[in-house]
Structures are given as structure tokens and as C-alpha cells.
């Protein structure tokens, strides 16, 4: 009884403990690629064979993602990018607030992109909250597709759509599905990256999963 009556530790303390123990998954290991609409069935088939959740069939999702930016008050650092994801097919699910840091491609020997990431489940009035906080909506899109799991790895195969202003059906960005292979892990668990590379090799040549630096691509003259 006396043990049960011990004072609860404060949330800050438990967070510091978790940080010290390095159990907070704040790194995202990421590989990206795409597959043409015509070949997506083949890919889904292969993934069903390779992944864990075979018996239940592929898990579908239909999410809307809104990207916010929060400008630095001192105008020194780059604006903070925040993303909010909400499930359109399960409205009672909490929103997902994500902070994604700068992607680090590393040298040739590093198998995946590594970027710091914070995934927070939120409910309530998150969009209004961020707006009042001073965030500005940068862009939004919707993704619809399939999710697979293989151990700690998450594989999504999804179509990216523009959000249409009118009642028009949403317009896809391209004739391909975006394929992402990612793992959220605590800092320093680089071994998982090798596993991801091995898994990505199993999807070749159907899909070429690679480290892609969108920052560099974005600034390239087109």
C-alpha cells in the first residue's frame, strides 16, 4: 500500500528519463521511390508476400496532410515545418502532428536518409491551435493507398492527390504511386538501415527505393 501511495513523478521527469534511456523514437530512416500505376498491382502482390500482415490483407488508408510553417521570430533560422495528418476514412482517429527535421543523406555508405522526426498523436482543435500559434498553411495534399508492415519497417504505397477547390474529383500528382519505406527509431540504431536496404533490394527492379534529397531536386531548374 505504501508503495502504491508513492508520489507520482512529474511528466517532465519521466520525459527526461526516457530521453536519457534513449527510448524515444525521434529518428526516421527513409527510402523513397515510385511505381507506375500499371505495375502497382504487381508490387502490392509482392509486398503481401513479403510483409507481416498478410492474413488480414493490405491495410488501406486515406489521409489528408496539411503542411504548416512557423517563421523564426529573429528571421535567422529556416522556418519550422510542421505537418498535420488526418485520416479521412476514420474521422474519430486522432490527428497526427509531425515535426520533420532536415534530411541527412550522409555519404555513399549510409543506406538510408536519416532525419529527425517527432510524431505526436493529437486530438481536439489542432488546426486552429496551430493557426493561433502563428503557423501558416504552406500546402496540402491527400494520400490514399496501402500500408504494410515488416517488423519495425513501414511500407506505404500511395497515390498523392491535389486538394481540389471545387467539387471536382481530386487530381493525382502523377501517373505513379509514391512508395516509402520508413522506420521510426531512437537515435543511433543504424542497424535497421541495413535491414531496410536489404528489404528494398527485394523489391527491385519493380521499385527503385533510394535516398532522395528533395531539397536538391526542388532547386534544380526544370
Amino acid at each position: 500500500m505504501s508503495a502504491a501511495n508513492a508520489a507520482p513523478i512529474t511528466a517532465t521527469d519521466s520525459l527526461t528519463q526516457a530521453l536519457k534511456a534513449n527510448i524515444i523514437p525521434n529518428q526516421e530512416y527513409l527510402l523513397q521511390g515510385s511505381v507506375l500505376d500499371s505495375a502497382v498491382e504487381v508490387l502490392l502482390h509482392r509486398l503481401r508476400g513479403l510483409c507481416d500482415n498478410v492474413d488480414a490483407g493490405p491495410e488501406t488508408f486515406d489521409d489528408q496532410e496539411v503542411c504548416f510553417s512557423l517563421r523564426d521570430p529573429n528571421q535567422q533560422a529556416a522556418p519550422l515545418m510542421l505537418r498535420v495528418r488526418k485520416a479521412l476514412d476514420a474521422r474519430d482517429m486522432p490527428f497526427q502532428l509531425r515535426y520533420i527535421g532536415q534530411p541527412d543523406l550522409g555519404d555513399k555508405n549510409r543506406p538510408t536518409v536519416v532525419r529527425s522526426s517527432l510524431d505526436i498523436a493529437c486530438s481536439g482543435m489542432l488546426i486552429e491551435f496551430l493557426n493561433e500559434l502563428g503557423c501558416r498553411i504552406e500546402f496540402e495534399y491527400s494520400v490514399k493507398g496501402y500500408m504494410f508492415r515488416k517488423g519495425r519497417m513501414k511500407i506505404t504505397v500511395a497515390k498523392v492527390f491535389k486538394i481540389s477547390q471545387s467539387a471536382m474529383p481530386p487530381e493525382p500528382i502523377s501517373q505513379s504511386y509514391l512508395v516509402e519505406l520508413s522506420v521510426l527509431a531512437p537515435t543511433g540504431q543504424d542497424a535497421i538501415a541495413e535491414d531496410m536496404r536489404a528489404f528494398a533490394d527485394q523489391l527491385r527492379p519493380l521499385v527503385q527505393l533510394d535516398k532522395i534529397d528533395y531539397k536538391r531536386l526542388g532547386h534544380m531548374p526544370s
Binding site: M1, A4, N5, A6, A7, P8, T10, A11, T12, S14, L15, A18, I24, N26, L70, D72, P73, N74, A77, L80, L97, Y99, L118, D119, I120, A121, C122, S123, G124, M125, L126, E128, F129, E132, L133, G134
Partner: protein, 208 residues
């Protein structure tokens, strides 16, 4: 989650907070309650950077009753916007440290014993800010019911029985216009924030 009422308990002039808590604990135990651990509610407030225009305050609250959640209430003008998030929201606030800075000296918490009595849950919290004692808050939760207006009479009767029939018990400001809605944990947090803000305005009573 049942309906919760948070009530300030006046500390008599010549008594200490510990004494009052002990007195109330004895009274509750005499009613047949059992002590079920301790509880803790804390609140930290962040102010927006002056260059960001009108000042906004983000209050971050934790409640040991919902240990996996972080409650965040943004005060902007006369609007209060809340978000309930998981524990990593605290890390998110660190990311925002450029934009919102913590006012450490106003960190305030209420902690103390937690009792269960039938379907009631009673928490006796002594409020401290910066190690200085500020007052006593009594939280009473009636767990079977989810709407405040249905159970208000019952709760008032219970509180008057506990604190003495002369106590005037008013529904908390936050609950007044949502008496018929389904009660959620954030409503408790709003009540705490209301009273914490009131305590912050008063000067410290005495060192505990």
C-alpha cells in the same frame, strides 16, 4: 471519466496547508474511503516571442490521472484553444523554444493524496508555485455520470457534506455553459488552469 468539480478550500489564518490536508484526509477516511496513491497536476506556461505580434500564452498541463497525455491550452485574446496530445508534445515545445519561451517562475502544481469512496474519487491537492505554498484545491469526481447538469445537485450535496453545509458551491466558470455536454478530461484541466491562473495573480501566502 466522470464529472469533476474543483473547489478551492480556504486555509484558516493560523493553520498550515499540511494541517488542513491532514484534517480533510481524516474526515474522508472516516467516511469509509481508502487512499489510492497520490496525484499530481502541473502547469507550465509559455509566452510568445515579442516579435510575433500580439502576445499569446500556451499552457502545458499534465494530470497524473491521464499519465500518457499532455494537455495544451492556447490563450489568444479571449479564445482558449486546447489540444490533447501524447507525451511527445513536450518535446515539440522544445522545438518551439525559438518562438515560445517558458516562464519558469510561474510553474505551478497541485499534488497530494488521492482517495476513493464508493463511486467518488477525491483528491486533496496543495498548490505550490516555485516551492511556495499557494492554497488548497479539492477535486471531487463522480465517476458513473458523464453530464454535469444531471449530477450537479448530487455533487453539491456531497461537497457540502464534506466541507460543511455553509460552503457556497458554484459550478466552475468553465462548466457553466457546457453543463449538458459530455464531460471529458480536458474540462478538468480547464478548471485547474482557471484556478492556477487565479493563484498566480495573488502573492504567495506563506512558505509551507
Amino acid at each position: 471519466m466522470g464529472v469533476t468539480v474543483l473547489q478551492q478550500f480556504p486555509v484558516p489564518e493560523n493553520k498550515t496547508g499540511t494541517y488542513v490536508i491532514e484534517m480533510l484526509s481524516k474526515r474522508i477516511l472516516a467516511l469509509g474511503a481508502t487512499q489510492q496513491g497520490q496525484f499530481l497536476v502541473d502547469c507550465e506556461s509559455y509566452l510568445s516571442h515579442p516579435q510575433m505580434g500580439t502576445t499569446k500564452t500556451v499552457h502545458i498541463l499534465h494530470n497524473s490521472e491521464q499519465p500518457a497525455s499532455v494537455f495544451s491550452i492556447l490563450e489568444s485574446g479571449n479564445k482558449n484553444i486546447h489540444v490533447i496530445a501524447d507525451g511527445l508534445f513536450d518535446l515539440f515545445m522544445i522545438k518551439l523554444s525559438q518562438h515560445y519561451t517558458s516562464k519558469k517562475q510561474t510553474k505551478i502544481e497541485s499534488k497530494g493524496p488521492r482517495f476513493e469512496l464508493g463511486d467518488f474519487c477525491i483528491k486533496l491537492g496543495s498548490v505550490t508555485m516555485n516551492q511556495s505554498f499557494k492554497g488548497i484545491l479539492i477535486e471531487v469526481e463522480y465517476r458513473p455520470c458523464v453530464t454535469a447538469n444531471a449530477v450537479w445537485g448530487l455533487l453539491r450535496e456531497f461537497l457540502q457534506g464534506l466541507l460543511g453545509s455553509s460552503t457556497v458551491i458554484q459550478p466552475p466558470q468553465h462548466l457553466k455553459n457546457r453543463m449538458s455536454e459530455i464531460y471529458t478530461p480536458i474540462d478538468t484541466v480547464h478548471q485547474y488552469l482557471e484556478l492556477f491562473s487565479a493563484y498566480r495573480k495573488t502573492t504567495a501566502l506563506r512558505v509551507q
